[in-house]
Amino acid sequence: MTALARTWDQLTLPGKALLILIPLLAVLTTGLLVTILLFGQQILDILIDNLPIVRFVFAASVLLLLAPLIAFVIIYMEMKIIALMNLRIGPDRVGPWGSLLSTVHGLKVLMKEDFTPTRADPVVFTWAPVVVFSTMALSALVIPFAPGLFAQDFHLGVLYFFAIGGMTVVGLLMGGWASFNKYSLLGGIRSAAQIISYEIPLTLSVVGLVMLAGTMSLNTIVLQQSGSGWFTDWYAFRQPLGFLIFAIAATAEANRTPFDLTEADSEIVAGFATEYSGMRFGFFFFAEYIGVFIVSALTVVLFLGGWTAPFPFPHISWEVNPGTLGIGLLLLVMIVPVLGTLLFALPFYLFRSQTRWWVALILGFVLFNVVVGGLFGLWAYINFDWVAGLFWFLAKTFGLVFLFVWMRGTLPRVRIDQLMGFAWKWLLPAALLNLFVTALAIMVIDQP
């Protein structure tokens, strides 16, 4: 027994981890294989019977897995773009142009000490980041990323989105209250006041659009904007005031500058997140950036055409049927990568005297992969409508995210009383005006 203990002590930390993980994985894998072999057919039957649920679970898992990735991209974007606006360099070291910075931030956040302050309420303190993050992630379920690519097509999609998004307030208040810190309390209460005030113009500005569209399902709204293929079909041109109000209220909902008083770090240190460190703060951090993405995504879906392209593409098809080549396919796969690598490596080797031959080969290989990947992407874009839709959706969403980041780099922040005044005295009447004018227009124009 002591020999075992001594061996254990001599292991390094990764060694210990591996020693535990590998047998565990082996056991799990064999268990899985056995289950599939024995009960595979029954499992498959059950899954096929409940296909919608399976589809939903799959889509939700993909969303949850992709959420950190998107957050990483947005965090890096923000740091780099604001740095460039500030005439400095920004993240530079951790990857080409610092692009792996977010990964490093994620690892750092995982490795920090995770403590609860002495007089904080432990249950509420622990659950606050969970609530904030999960409400943000849940609200992404109804967004259509591409034709056919949505987790669930509620016919009350818009309502669901605002309902779940409003629950973020609960999480922020929990965090602010449970921290036993006056800065956090001020931050939490400010955020509650802000989000609640801006919910009303947000929802009202969409009601006009819902009246025009006749449905609350987000997928249907996007489909309605894809009529002629031109961007003038987008609801932004049919509801310009609604679009403007929505954009402003969405900035406030996402706690972004100029409405970022809840985390105004020149006044109240970090607002509701002052006492959080480690992964709990990571959750808040992620939730904010996912919120930015989701709010941009919603704006794009509702007003900017979702996954529709701004101009209609001619219908071409690019059929590639590799089966017709026969044995030629094997030869192709063996020869083309080698030739491509050599072709792309040659200019580097010839015209840049300091590259060694193996560095040139690596560069050639990378470039070849990039070119082939690009061609493959083009083929997928032309042949699969969901690829095209996803591309346009992401392009538009990240364009709006860029706009959010731009605003953060440029604008100072408003004060809480100016913020509330603006919401209640300006945005709310404007939204109501929009609503009445739309209703009037519908009544007048649809008169038989």
Partner: protein, 421 residues
């Protein structure tokens, strides 16, 4: 509360209170529950003065918030205890001394020459003015006349330092209002100026350049070339920074009407400098009590009447432009000659007293020097404008929101090195 007469020596209260013995336990207004007293920023001893008692008594619905020495935006190590009613500030109590270095005592044990490097870090952003006032006081003690070229160089470097200080003010002010970009642009501006001054004085920040009777080194080629380069694009850079903020609706709505001071209040609070000129009183020592070669230079004193933070900000931006005018004239009119007056190695003035004041970027920067005939100053008292303006914050803040605390403090432009001496 009865007036507490301060005792003869410093107060010496006990450092900790055993549970149940804190004096505010009986007072229903001060605390919620006895356990939480530990976390409130209330001093653990009975109030020493009337004002302390008045401040540390909570009214209905009020709470204390401690903006401690570590905070992202107090301008240095400053502790401010705020009494808040929700988001509205009712009263403040700044606690100083975190950066107190005892310069006035150190100076009494040093030579007259050594005092120059001792007083540099007082208002470290505008070090040359910190040196200028004591040096002028010593020159009056010694009845020394400074050569004209040295005076021109002093004015030239001083005005450059003023521009650097004001552009940093712009950055801080915007940062405290939430804008992330102007401060970095201000640092670019300031970087060029301090590199210039490093070429002239040898140091980027605590210059140690002025000497009793003149300056330390003459203008050199690198300084003049950097200065020429910078002057050709200075206005454009400043206007880029201004352009980001002046027309910005959010910025102007935040800053206008904030921390309004009227003329009588400003005079009674002993405010000087841009803060006083923003209320309408055109008091600038360079014109009101001319020193050095300012009578020969042609520049205006910008004045505004509103007295709010926006006025102070716009005023300092105009002062930058006036400083550029002064620099132009200095360069044109620079005479030849020595840069140091003939003085003995060991400075030993006659017993006497002298006061000198210069117009620093923040206000009147004064030095009162007493000599007892030896080679060490007997007393050097520095009057620092940031000290006074921080006191004025306490008069301006009540009634405003928490977010304005930092904005008002930033608009009055205090530097904690000067406040704490």
């Amino acid at each position: 509360m009865a007036t507490v007469t301060p005792p003869r020596t410093g107060d010496a209260p006990p450092r900790t209170f055993p549970k149940g013995t804190h004096p505010s336990e009986d007072d229903p207004n001060v605390l919620l529950e006895d356990d939480y007293a530990f976390y409130e920023p209330i001093p653990p001893y009975p109030p020493r003065t009337e004002r302390e008692a008045e401040f540390y008594t909570l009214g209905d619905g009020e709470m204390f918030l401690n903006m401690g020495p570590q905070h992202p935006s107090t301008h240095g190590v400053l502790r401010v205890v705020l009494k808040l009613d929700g988001e509205r500030v009712v009263d403040i109590d700044p606690v100083l001394g975190y950066l107190h270095r005892g310069v006035e005592k150190l100076v009494e044990n040093a030579d007259y020459h050594q005092t120059i490097s001792q007083v540099d870090p007082l208002e470290y952003i505008s070090s040359l003015f910190c040196e200028w006032a004591p040096v002028e006081a010593y020159e009056r003690l010694l009845d020394v006349e400074v050569p004209r070229r040295a005076e021109y160089i002093r004015v030239l470097s001083g005005e450059l330092n003023r521009i650097a200080s004001h552009s940093l003010f712009l950055g801080w002010f915007a940062l405290d209002l939430g804008g992330l970009t102007p401060i970095l642009w201000s640092f670019i501006e300031r970087d060029e100026i301090v590199e210039m001054l490093a070429a002239l004085t040898g140091q980027r920040m605590l210059f140690n350049y002025f000497r009793i009777g003149g300056v330390n080194g003459d203008l050199n080629h690198e300084f003049m070339s950097r200065l020429g380069d910078w002057m050709s694009r200075a206005v454009v850079q400043i206007e880029a920074g201004e352009g980001l903020l002046n027309e910005n609706e959010i910025f102007t709505r935040r800053a206008s009407g904030l921390g309004v001071v009227d003329q009588a209040t400003a005079l009674r609070l002993c405010m000087t400098g841009a803060n006083l000129r923003a209320t309408g009183i055109p008091f600038d020592l360079r014109r009101a009590h001319p020193y050095s070669i300012y009578p020969e230079l042609d520049f205006d004193i910008p004045t505004r009447t509103e007295g709010d933070s926006l006025a102070r900000y716009l005023l300092r931006m105009e002062e930058i432009k006036q400083s550029l005018r002064i620099i132009d004239q200095c360069l044109e009119k620079m005479p030849d000659g020595p840069i140091m007056a003939k003085l003995p190695r060991l400075i030993r003035p006659r017993p006497g007293r002298a006061w000198a004041a210069v117009e620093g970027p923040r206000g009147i920067y004064g030095a009162y020097a007493i000599s007892d005939g030896t080679d060490q100053p007997f007393r050097l008292k520095i009057h620092d404008p940031s000290f006074i303006h921080l006191q004025a914050v306490g008069a301006l803040l009540p009634g405003n929101l928490l977010a304005d605390t930092m904005a008002i403090m930033a608009s009055l432009d205090p530097v904690m090195g000067g406040v704490d001496k």
